[in-house]
């Protein structure tokens, strides 16, 4: 019954198409990684760094297009180097962080302009630009799945290892430093995880849009979760749902629109936005679990029984 009623949702060939398999797999991996890393990006107030890294990736993506390799390698190479330079310039204080990010971002976009220009000249097509900036998950080579899986594993493992110090230094840099947490090393490790996550989502939905996959699901999670672990799980699930639903809509739209469907990146971002909007309504409708606390400000005055 259920299967029958769901059938019209999936246009013929969806499940037998190899590009769809690759798209669903790559989308799911990068969505999970983006969800895990994205929660920390939002908590640490480093959305700008995340966005900058995705823009910086355009330089790498366009460079690899010129060279003739997969854009993934360009994204990874440029983002990891950029993250390192940002850390070197000084990412500790919010102001220095913005400056470092802005400087590296500006330089990289200049390079991207050059590479994209060269690419357009040499191939006399705008395909490179669209591919790098807005992604094309349906055109990925199947072999890229293994690379994505390895990179995703590295990124998530980094976050798992750094989990507690990262959380502590997100609450207070000073507090973490006083506890002898190697705060700079932890920050650098996190940036590396971020660079990998952004590279993966750049392949999925394009360099320009990869921020949406990084920040969107995390923002949804922060609206509904009170615990870090739960927030990470929610962000990962929201990301996967958005990627899969977006892929499905894009695939189906080729039939609805008679041949030329909507870009898959557009569909994914639309789903993320709808989920973000819905989560806002949900979190507002839910009663605030917080008990009234104004009355207990003076509770300390009461004697507390000794253990």
């Amino acid at each position: 019954m259920l299967a029958v009623s769901w059938a019209p949702l999936f246009e013929p060939g969806f499940f037998s198409s190899e590009p769809v398999h690759v798209a669903l797999t790559v989308g799911a991996i990068s969505a999970v990684v983006s969800g895990v890393v994205g929660v920390f990006t939002v908590i640490r107030g480093q959305s700008f760094a995340g966005h900058a890294l995705s823009d910086i990736g355009t330089a790498g993506g366009s460079a690899s297009f010129l060279v003739g390799t997969s854009t993934l390698y360009g994204f990874v190479a440029f983002n990891v180097v950029a993250a390192g330079v940002m850390e070197l310039i000084g990412i500790r204080k919010p102001r220095g962080r913005d400056l470092a990010t802005g400087i590296v971002l500006g330089a990289s976009l200049g390079l991207a302009a050059l590479f994209l220009y060269e690419g357009t000249i040499s191939s006399s097509t705008t395909g490179a630009t669209v591919n790098v900036l807005f992604g094309s998950i349906f055109t990925l080579a199947p072999g890229i799945m293994n690379v994505i899986a390895v990179l995703g594993f590295v990124s998530v493992s980094l976050i798992a290892v750094l989990y507690r110090p990262l959380l502590l230094s997100s609450v207070s840099y000073e507090m973490a430093a006083a506890r002898r947490v190697p705060v700079r090393l932890v920050g650098a490790g996190y940036l590396l995880a971020l660079a990998l996550a952004v590279s993966m989502s750049a392949v999925t939905i394009g360099a320009i849009l990869s921020t949406a996959l990084l920040i969107g699901p995390a923002a949804v999670a922060l609206r509904v979760a009170t615990r870090t672990g739960v927030a990470i799980a929610v962000a990962a699930v929201v990301g996967v749902v958005a990627c899969w639903a977006g892929t499905l809509i894009a695939y189906d739209s080729t039939v609805w629109a008679g041949g030329n469907g909507w870009p898959v990146s557009f569909c994914i971002v639309v789903v993320i936005f709808v989920l973000y909007f819905t989560s806002g309504v949900v979190s507002r409708l839910r009663a605030d679990p917080r008990p009234a606390t104004t009355s207990d400000l003076g509770r300390f005055v009461e004697p507390v029984e000794a253990a």
Partner: protein, 287 residues
């Protein structure tokens, strides 16, 4: 120590307190070429409640950072409990100055207390009964059980401060450092936090060093005071230090200490009060 030319007050020497947990000896710190602390000496004993009083820019935060080992002194030394250097000593609990936590930060009050226990360790915290009980006991000790499951960012200033104190105490430190913990609290919340700290100091024999620009909320519980002005310090009991002659010599100009209805007012009696424009509570302009 004597060469500072400052009054040596009371039992200020390193052998002064019976059971010192913290000894600061002849400490000088320079930041960016500016001498922030100039040969500061004092000690705090187990179970003692010491107020670190001074106006903004007097060097309170620098002194606390030096004790934590986050700022290197240019001379002098800091000894915590058992003779080890403070940098290597895990026996310090720390509550930093004004932390801003967003309301949507997905971290419950109890999670932050848990981070106080093992936040410096790598990896994901696995739920262990022992850890849960330790957190539960600490929440109870600071009276925070009622809002333990609420996001930390949605708590009031006083509630957040209690969680921060719990987070600092859960490792059973010998010394608790608090940097301006009363700064953003209303009078009632501040009194609650002070009372909590005094009780913990007495019950668990922890030395508390708390910085503030206004000593009045601390007067009921403070047994020692370190008074900082322009990087120099005098220390002793409140009665020994907060006196017209002592503070006048510390500031280098005449200040008047006035006791009014249980409150202490330090009134600047010269033109130099412009150095301390922010202390409307402690420093009142002379006529």
């Amino acid at each position: 120590m004597v060469s500072t030319g400052l009054p040596q007050v009371g039992d200020d020497s390193r052998a002064g307190v019976a059971n010192p947990v913290l000894q600061v000896e002849d400490l000088s710190v320079s930041l960016g070429g500016r001498q922030v602390l100039d040969r500061v000496s004092f000690s705090v004993e187990a179970g003692g409640f010491c107020g670190l009083i001074g106006s903004n820019g007097a060097g309170k935060t620098t002194l606390i950072r030096a004790i934590l080992g986050l700022t290197a002194p240019s001379r002098g030394r800091i000894v915590v409990t058992d003779g080890t250097r403070s940098r290597q000593n895990p026996q310090i609990g720390y509550v930093p100055q004004k932390i801003v936590l967003e309301a949507d930060m997905p971290l419950r009050a109890r999670d932050l207390v848990g981070l106080g226990l093992d936040g410096h360790r790598f990896g994901i915290p696995w739920p262990k009964t022992k850890r849960r009980i330790a957190v539960e006991e600490m929440l109870d000790a600071v009276g925070a059980t009622r809002f333990a499951d609420v996001r930390i960012g949605t708590l009031s200033g006083g509630e957040q401060q209690r969680i921060m104190i719990a987070q600092a105490l859960i490792c059973r430190p010998k010394l608790l450092l608090l940097d301006e913990p009363l700064a953003n609290l209303d009078i009632r919340s501040a009194a609650g936090v002070v009372e909590l700290l005094a009780r913990i100091a007495a019950e668990q024999r922890i030395a508390v060093l708390l910085s503030a620009h206004d000593m009045n909320p601390l007067l009921p519980v403070m047994d020692r005071v370190v008074y900082l002005a322009d990087g120099r310090a005098v220390s002793g009991t409140t009665d020994q230090v907060v006196r017209t002659d002592i503070l006048s010599r510390l500031y280098g100009h005449h200040v008047e200490v006035i006791h009014v209805e249980g409150r202490v007012l330090v009134v600047s009696g010269s033109e130099h009060q412009a150095h301390h424009p922010n202390d409307t509570d402690t420093f009142l302009r002379g006529p």
